[in-house]
């Protein structure tokens, strides 16, 4: 049986901010092809880190390495002070939202049922949801503004509402770290903005540490505390304006950005 207890990592008192995720010279491959080389960065508690890079840059693999779904070839990965393989009993601190949930729109589950799925590892095998599980689900539905829609079939929701339901699912554990893989893909501009505002608010309210992966620089510029730009290797790491103003960003994407016009050309932290 697994219980969602607060891990020792978050229980212990510290002087400064904790480093919830640390990657040092991490290399990873998929099907024998190296997709990430020498990735080094750390995520402080309560920080919103945007990971940008073009399609095929290895962003999703990076998330999967942190989740322990892809084993790195070399280098060190520490999540909450542990290697991802040791995280099995601490996964309730990690909320994950995949790039696209390819579900059948006729799948017979309500929004409430979908959010409850997020609590599966807290409920434990061979057990049924208890009152605290039901309360956690209702709380996280309210936090993303889906209260009142509990009984609606998930397939009947709009794209933006579905994304919020999946965010609620990622938040209904004892979530401290949010890993979001292109969560706004497929949303129109307005829905995207709403989703980002919601995320910024939740991050502040709940003190979340967030890694948000996107190929779209514009999405992240406004709310990220730091931005890492990867395209197989790490190209840049710094504050959003530093990264977005850098010449090396074009190098990473191998194209020009319209967005970059008008953004100050500060020196970035080259890595």
């Amino acid at each position: 049986m697994r219980e969602c207890r607060v891990s020792e990592f978050f229980g212990a008192s510290t002087d400064g901010p904790r480093q919830v995720i640390v990657l040092e010279d991490m290399w990873a491959s998929l099907d024998g092809h190296t997709v990430l080389e020498g990735i080094t960065f750390s995520l402080d508690e309560g920080t919103f880190l945007g990971v940008i890079g073009p399609n095929g840059a290895g962003k999703t693999t990076l998330i999967k390495v942190i989740l322990g779904l892809v084993k790195p070839d070399r280098g060190a990965v520490r999540v909450m002070g542990m290697s991802p393989g040791e995280l099995k009993h601490e996964l309730h601190h990690i909320g994950y939202m995949p790039q696209q949930v390819l579900f059948d729109p006729l799948f017979p589950v309500s929004v409430y049922d979908v959010v409850m799925m997020g609590r599966t590892c807290c409920i434990g095998t061979l057990r049924f949801p208890r009152r605290n599980d039901r309360e956690a689900v209702m709380q996280s539905m309210a936090a993303v503004g889906l209260d009142g829609l509990e009984k609606r079939p998930i397939g009947e929701l709009s794209g933006g509402q579905q994304k919020r339901a999946f965010l609620a699912r990622a938040l209904c554990l004892e979530t401290r770290i949010l890993l979001l893989d292109e969560p706004t893909s497929g949303l129109d501009y307005e829905a995207q903005e709403k989703f980002m505002d919601l995320l910024a608010r939740l991050k502040l309210e709940q003190g979340l540490s967030v890694i948000f992966v996107s190929h779209d620089v514009n999405v992240l510029a406004r709310i990220a505390d730091e931005i890492v730009c990867i395209n197989r290797t790490m190209h840049l790491h710094g504050k959003p304006m530093e990264v977005l103003g850098s010449e090396r960003l074009k190098e990473a994407y191998r194209c020009e950005f319209d967005f970059l016009a008008g953004v100050g050309s500060h020196e970035s932290t080259e890595v």
Binding site: P98, F103, V114, M117, C121
Partner: protein, 274 residues
């Protein structure tokens, strides 16, 4: 009808099988495993033939053989980078070919074999009923005990994996459970017709309710009703029981389409009235 021992055994065995099939048919429908079910059930022909040739209970030999084929389908499609339906197409034809060859070699083309192809529920012995009950309870227990994990994995496998759920165990477990359910259903409706029991209760349930709780209840009611009604009709009109059960299932499916809130006549009627 219940004065006869064979009818009692048929009814008890039939209801147990219907319960197990209805539960698993929910996952057959939501995970789109209908063709997997077809594949495993046809492969059962090879398993039955092994039993007939080796002189062991064909239900047991088919059980082992089908479980192996089910695991094979899972393993090849996960590891071999081949689509599930391709693997099924390969394995079920091969297993049936093996069955044909074994039966020919053993000279066992007889009535017994026909009863496995089209069902022979009226010929159940009490031993058969016990075997059916044990295998059905095992299958139903797996579905009930791991329901929330199976539901999560069926809805969104990627996030379920990231949450640390035993995705591989659940997938292979579901396939083996399907194999066991298919094998016990063979006595009831036969290899050829078994997919009806695996698909129709869940499909009809999904027409009636948009939530899995309602789908499950409707599937069980429809599955059990079809078996009881089918047996009753086949008894009184002296027609093949397996085929009658399948035709009753189909009739109930059509009815469920008619009352479905998704597209049915009832909705149009309501709209017209409104």
């Amino acid at each position: 009808m219940l004065a006869y021992g064979f009818a009692q055994r048929a009814l008890i065995g039939g209801v147990i099988v219907a319960l197990a099939c209805s539960l698993i048919s929910f996952f057959v429908v939501v995970r789109r495993l209908a063709f997997v079910g077809m594949g495993i059930s046809h492969a059962a022909f090879g398993g039955v033939a092994i039993g007939l040739v080796a002189g062991i209970d064909p239900v047991l030999s088919a059980g082992g053989f089908c479980a192996a084929v089910a695991l094979g389908i899972g393993w090849f499609s996960r590891k071999g980078r081949i689509h599930e339906d391709t693997v099924i197409g390969i394995l079920f034809a091969t297993a049936m070919a093996l069955g044909v060859l074994l039966v020919r070699l053993a000279g066992a083309y007889n009535l017994d074999l026909m009863s496995y192809l089209f069902g022979s529920i009226l010929a159940l012995s009490w031993t058969d009923v016990v075997i059916i009950a044990v295998l059905s309870v095992l299958a139903a227990a797996f579905i009930v005990l791991f329901f929330k994990e199976l539901l999560f994995i069926s809805f969104d496998e990627e996030t379920a994996t990231a949450s640390g759920l035993p995705v591989r165990f659940a997938y292979y477990g579901l396939l083996v459970t399907m194999a066991l359910t298919i094998v016990v259903s063979i006595k009831l409706v036969g290899i050829i017709l078994v997919s009806a029991l695996l698909v129709i209760p869940g499909a009809a349930g999904a027409q009636i309710s948009r939530n899995y709780r309602g789908v499950l209840v409707a599937a069980v009611v429809i599955g059990v009703t079809s078996v009881v009604l089918g047996l009753y009709l086949s008894f009184w009109y002296d027609v093949a029981s397996g085929a009658t059960i399948v035709l009753v299932l189909f009739t109930l499916f059509m009815l469920s389409m008619a009352v479905s809130s998704r597209r049915g006549y009832m909705r149009k009627l309501r709209q017209r009235e409104g």
